[in-house]
Symmetry: C2
């Protein structure tokens, strides 16, 4: 029940029609008796810079969820960015701090890592291959680095993207062994598809699945279907897999903590959410 | 259920804690299956001008409810103002039109007049006395003029306010007979208290009730109690009365029409509202 005491979490992006977060957060807030609401606000790219600071002058706002097309622009508009957001070069969350300053963070990678851990896989010391060095791939690489992987392989069809990501990682994690430019999954403990491959029927697989080890943990970012052809092939090889929506739901407790709300688990959020995947 | 397709009606004011509109509009929208939500936004006076235009660039906003302390400032920040808002010198609603321009309107007076009509009193040709020439008194005077009263008496302890209101009325309704500076209710068909008198125990009555005619229709803007001492005294004289919350609820159908939503009646809104007065 929205009132004048309700805390506003803005959901900033454009177009808004496909937003899922309101149907995840708001039923959860209601379930827990938390007087807060996620409100979609359709902000076009050209309007974002002029809107952001006035928005955060509101007396009842706590933060924002940030989505397309503002994830990259956010980095340049806030007062401080987390390490994960700095490496990813993009952010999907903004917190208004007590002193009025804005902190941006990026939770896609955190969602991936939390999901891994809850499936019993500790990233610490593991060898991980991230295929796709765009926003989400960069975020996953950053979080895997933060979680202590022993070695990281990066591949992108745009070789410059992967090299630039390796440079950003090296600045924050100088001791981490980073290899760039090949996508052979042999010898890796963790392999992640962070490309759009799998969204369209007939897409090639992101890596040669015949070279996946059976103990490899295989993750996916594609959300259009739970078991993509890549995950199906990995399962046939005997690999444990993580679907795209796991990354989505696993990061929401991280968001809740970031905003200062009581945390919960991805499972509980899935049970209460009013949207099915 | 808020989603990415939900239409936003911003509720702009500061502080927000006492906002009532969300508990009136949102249950009504839910009842009717209208996918819209009134969202309180605490905007301080010094932030209002910088926030308003960027807010109305949002792709999913339709309009705003405007309250303290922005009712006067709104007049200077929009593209067009209604006659009622121009005379009142303040606005409590903003509509984003198809062409991106902003229209401001003022519905306090409209609520008063609609309430009168629904109680069987036609303002047309009536002699009306408005005591208090501040924002709400000016709005009531403007709407009574628009509804065709035959003569209007205006009184304010600040004589300049009443004279300035008379000037603004004369510009829009040059044929209307306006008398300024006395508050003797004798001979009036309609008498309105548009001062804060009645909010505090021991306040003097706004007019000499002994001089109210028994057929006089007596209205009140004070919201802190339904039957103020002034209304109680008027009832004892045999007068028909209109309570402050009638003006509030009667203007909401006007707001709904202004925003392009299906209209309804004040009674239905009262039944569904999650707040009691």
């Amino acid at each position: 029940m929205i009132s004048g005491r309700t805390t506003l979490i803005a959901h900033l992006g454009y177009p808004t029609e496909s937003f899922r977060a309101p149907m995840i957060y708001n039923p959860w807030f209601e379930e827990c008796g938390i007087d807060a609401v996620v409100m979609p606000m359709g902000v076009k790219a050209e309007d974002y810079a002029a809107f952001l600071r006035p928005l955060f002058r509101l007396s009842n706002i706590r933060g924002a969820l940030v989505t397309m097309p503002h994830k990259v622009a956010t980095i340049g508009l806030v007062d401080e960015v987390s390490t994960a957001a700095a490496i990813a070069g993009s952010a999907n969350a903004i917190l208004l701090r007590e002193d009025g300053s804005l902190l941006a963070d990026m939770f896609d990678g955190e969602g991936f890592v939390r999901g891994m851990r809850r499936k019993g896989r500790d990233p610490r010391g593991a060898r991980a291959l991230v295929v796709g060095a765009g926003g989400v791939g960069s975020a996953i690489a950053a979080s895997l680095a933060g979680a202590g992987v022993g070695a990281l392989g990066l591949f992108d069809i745009d070789g410059h993207s992967a090299a630039a990501l390796a440079d950003r990682l090296a600045r924050h994690y100088p001791a981490l062994e980073v290899a760039v430019g090949q996508r052979d999954p042999a010898g890796y403990d963790v392999v992640v598809n962070a490309t759009p491959l799998g969204m369209k029927p007939g897409d090639p697989l992101p890596v040669d699945v015949a070279r996946l080890g059976p103990d490899c943990f295989v993750g996916e970012v594609v959300l259009t279907q739970e078991i993509t052809p890549f995950l199906a092939a990995a399962r046939e090889r005997g690999c444990a897999v993580q679907v795209g929506t796991d990354m989505l739901f696993e990061q929401i407790p991280a968001y809740l903590e970031f905003f200062g709300f009581p945390s919960t688990t991805a499972e509980k959020l899935r049970q209460v959410a009013r949207i099915r995947y």
